[in-house]
């Protein structure tokens, strides 16, 4: 079965018509998508500023990890579910969009990095400002904000 066949399933579906036809369904879902993104990027900023030693020195890394990791994962799950709901009603449009394809690649890299190198750095209470932490923080911030920017660009690349 080719992707085109898969897309046809969506365009033929009466259930998905509800999403396509309701005037505020997509804006509402996108709002939740942005809220999830705010949680992911917000926690990413906090983790990375702490890794770089900018402020928050009174809060230890294990405490940040314990408290913020679940917020980050919650935000990520919300973003993925709502993102899928935006994609499903009009798959052919997104699949043809360069910004969307770029975003999926960047998102995969960001998630991979988050659960491996980044998580290890966050869990170990290493002293900040080492070159290792700078590289990790720069990579994490670049990846996640690129995901955000690529997502915003979807609307402008048609």
């Amino acid at each position: 079965m080719s992707l085109q066949h898969l897309w046809e399933l969506s365009y033929d579906s009466k259930t998905i018509d509800i999403l396509r036809n309701a005037k505020y369904a997509i804006p509402l879902i996108q709002s939740l998508h942005l809220f999830g993104l705010t949680l992911v990027l917000g926690t990413t900023v906090i983790f990375n500023l702490r890794l770089l030693g900018f402020g928050m020195r009174k809060i230890t890394m294990p405490v940040l990890d314990k408290q913020l990791w679940r917020v980050a994962i919650g935000g990520l799950l919300l973003s993925i579910v709502t993102g899928a709901l935006v994609f499903i009603p009009d798959p052919a449009r997104y699949a043809a969009n360069t910004a969307f394809k770029t975003k999926l690649v960047l998102l995969s890299l960001a998630i991979l990095f988050q659960f491996t190198i980044f998580r290890r750095a966050v869990r170990s209470d290493v002293p900040p400002l080492g070159p290792r932490n700078i590289i990790i923080a720069a990579t994490s911030l670049t990846l996640w904000f690129s995901v955000g920017w690529a997502g915003r660009a979807i609307a402008f690349l048609g």
């Binding site: 709002s31 705010t38 990027l41 917000g42 900023v45 009174k58 809060i59 913020l68």
Partner: protein, 129 residues
């Protein structure tokens, strides 16, 4: 990007007030560590938002969602100012206990709802322009 820096950090303090995160840390420490970092985020948000508004001021002004968004922003400001005046000076009293005064919790909840609303209204307004 600025959205994450501003609202993202404010939400963490809201979660502390609602006792949903950082319960083991004094609320004043969370405030002192997170809230100042959110200020540059808000500065970028206002500047870039103003530029977007100038680009199509008349259309935006007539947009119902835009008007509600502005109203929500004002309310969020009032809520934050109210917290500063009413609860901030007395934070030392409950800082290290696990409890948070009802009013302060309400203020945190209100902040959470208002900011989520501001994001939603901003996103929805584009569909009406």
């Amino acid at each position: 990007m600025a959205l994450a820096l501003s609202v993202g950090l404010i939400l963490m303090f809201d979660l502390r007030l609602l006792r949903l995160a950082f319960r083991s840390e004094p609320a004043s420490r969370i405030m002192q560590q997170f809230v100042p970092l959110s200020l540059p985020g808000f500065a970028i948000m206002f500047a870039s938002g103003l530029l977007l508004f100038i680009a199509q001021a008349e259309k935006a002004y007539q947009n119902t969602f835009f008007r509600f968004k502005l109203a929500f922003l004002v309310l969020a400001g009032i809520n934050a100012a109210f917290y500063q005046v009413k609860f901030y000076p007395k934070m030392a009293d409950w800082d290290n206990s696990d409890s948070v005064p009802r009013g302060a919790q309400l203020s945190g909840l209100l902040s959470l709802i208002l900011w989520a609303g501001i994001i939603a209204l901003g996103r929805t307004m584009a569909y009406e322009l």
